[in-house]
Symmetry: C2
Subunit: 407 residues, 2 copies
Amino acid sequence: MSKAFDFATVTAPDLPPPAVKFGGYPKFNFVGGHNDPDSLPVADLTEAVTAVMKREARSLAMYNSTGPQGYLPLRQFLVKKLKADAGIACTADDVLITSGSLQGMDLVNSLLVGPGDTVIVEEDNYGGTFTKLARIKGKCVGVPLDRDGMRMDALAATLADLKSKGIKPKYIYTIPTVHNPTGTVMPVERRREMIRLAEAYGVPIFEDDCYSDLVFSGERPPAIYALSDWPGVIHIGSFSKSIAPALRIGFVVAPWDAMSRILALKGDAGTPAIEQMALAEFCEKNFDTHVGKLRTALKAKADAMVAALEEHFGTAAEFERPTGGIFIWVKLPEPVDTTKLFQVAAKHGIALNPGPEWSIADGRNKRQMRLCFAYPSKDVIRNGVAALAEVCRTEFGIPERIANVKR
Amino acid sequence: MSKAFDFATVTAPDLPPPAVKFGGYPKFNFVGGHNDPDSLPVADLTEAVTAVMKREARSLAMYNSTGPQGYLPLRQFLVKKLKADAGIACTADDVLITSGSLQGMDLVNSLLVGPGDTVIVEEDNYGGTFTKLARIKGKCVGVPLDRDGMRMDALAATLADLKSKGIKPKYIYTIPTVHNPTGTVMPVERRREMIRLAEAYGVPIFEDDCYSDLVFSGERPPAIYALSDWPGVIHIGSFSKSIAPALRIGFVVAPWDAMSRILALKGDAGTPAIEQMALAEFCEKNFDTHVGKLRTALKAKADAMVAALEEHFGTAAEFERPTGGIFIWVKLPEPVDTTKLFQVAAKHGIALNPGPEWSIADGRNKRQMRLCFAYPSKDVIRNGVAALAEVCRTEFGIPERIANVKR
């Protein structure tokens, strides 16, 4: 005889709504931050996994065999790489391997943000930033961006305003090198100004460099963590965008007084070992070559996306051509509502990120959308954007004409 | 010029104390729940990793390529295995792959336990159970165990007592198949009684079967999840003990109304893929044979541990010979204080778990200690127990005589 029990009657308060059953991925998948499958270094990564398993698989019998900060050779690789690419001078003791940079975000939030605490963020942001902070009852204050990223005049005003209200923000969160979703790269002078302001107000900087390997030119400004001789900076990064997201490997770089507290919060008995070992093995010889090829491939996909938007949306689509990363931030004219567009497009097998989910406040970015271009093939990009333009035209009358529109 | 910033001035409230710098592992390491390195199926696991990378590495370019519940072939393996071993009838939709069973614990706690909520647990327990619940401001009520695990007369009294106080406990957490730390296995009749009580009071059962593959005889009672036709049960398990802890792969089995809410809480963009793929590939052909060999090896180590305790502690060490698992729960006589013993032993390169950390309340289990035997070699077990007896004799005068004591 079948009995009943409703778990909804015993749940903790303030849960997110239940998930819907997974029904597969859409035909035109412009969300999710996935990587380009054709660029995945399958052969070299397989060789690396095999080599390191043959040599060291025995170590899998222990939790954290090289200690709680993660596989030492991977930390040693990161020390070299971060110096060469981002200008960061650190040691393996300053590095913690995490289960994706998402775990890095969770750890920094656990370290610094108590219920009711305020944090400063870029007002257009990764949607997960807002969801994570809402879950821990943190309050976000947003700073506007321009073509060079977060505006320092606005940051200065925000810091002064909060101080006048007796509010001590717990960090300034920034994605300064290929910002999500705007794609901007903050120049050095602004980085120095942010450091000056952070130090003056005693507010730590939380730097998220997870897209920084994907600047197409290969040239990037030094990390804020590198530029600052004031130690109030925590830096996180990831291998999801440079190598592969399903590996779930990221890292935190922090001085010991932050690192020691973060370690005490990382109660997961370690980040998975095979990926750490494989990455250390692969990256030592292959990282730069691989990422060089990846950037070329991503630039070609960005160009395909731009061409498709120009062809099918014409002047209706307003955007900056990406100079790095895996997404484009597009603005459409009135009366387009991208939340509605997202819902209708989903019925046509097209997934996009509506701007309001990438925004600090309700009602902002109602005409913006983020489209990821790394995962879909160029054909899917072309056909998907064409299909999206058709949906948009049917729903909103925008664009007025499709195809054969020259910018 | 070097500047200063003290992160301790900006941390969130109620943090655990900072970690100390990692100084390597002790010579006689009887903690940590590590596995037997000699039993790790290195060749077959390496072959599995290589095969699955060659076939499917491309899928690493996507987060959650087979959906948010994890790699489908691994879930399909678990469906078959759980039916064969634990009697659980479920489908792949009822299974979620997690980053270790520790993440399973965190997810169930997030699902059910709000600040100030009460949960019922075995009064001797995995130390992490208490730390995790303290961190989320949950309150534990402990139920005593005997040689057959949690006592049902005591559980009935606890449930009635809480009800009389208007307290609705959020779950009954049990490790019924090779309990940590007592090693007990709850017989079927008690499992049925627990189900009857849980249903009568409307309190979910949270069953943790992470050691259940390690019953030396290979015979285990059906899981509570299997025995219950009342659906108020969540079951978690792990590959850490059956295969390797550093893989960080566990699982949750739950009905959809719990699973859908758990999925919404698993905000990590997926559990790492290579381990999931490798385990599915390895386990399909090799799981039973491997675990059979592992049980034999662990039994031999348990025997070595028992022999060493008998030889060096004689009648001073009181314990049940393990019938499964990777640890032994030892009681020493007055005036031994195992917290003090732990501190002194650490100076001699011996790590043990002092009973009070494996206990619901301060002051309990002051003469108990848990010793893990899977990881150390038999020589290390023998020499380590001899060294520990010497330390104990010097500190407490117990045991009175060492060596050549026959039980």
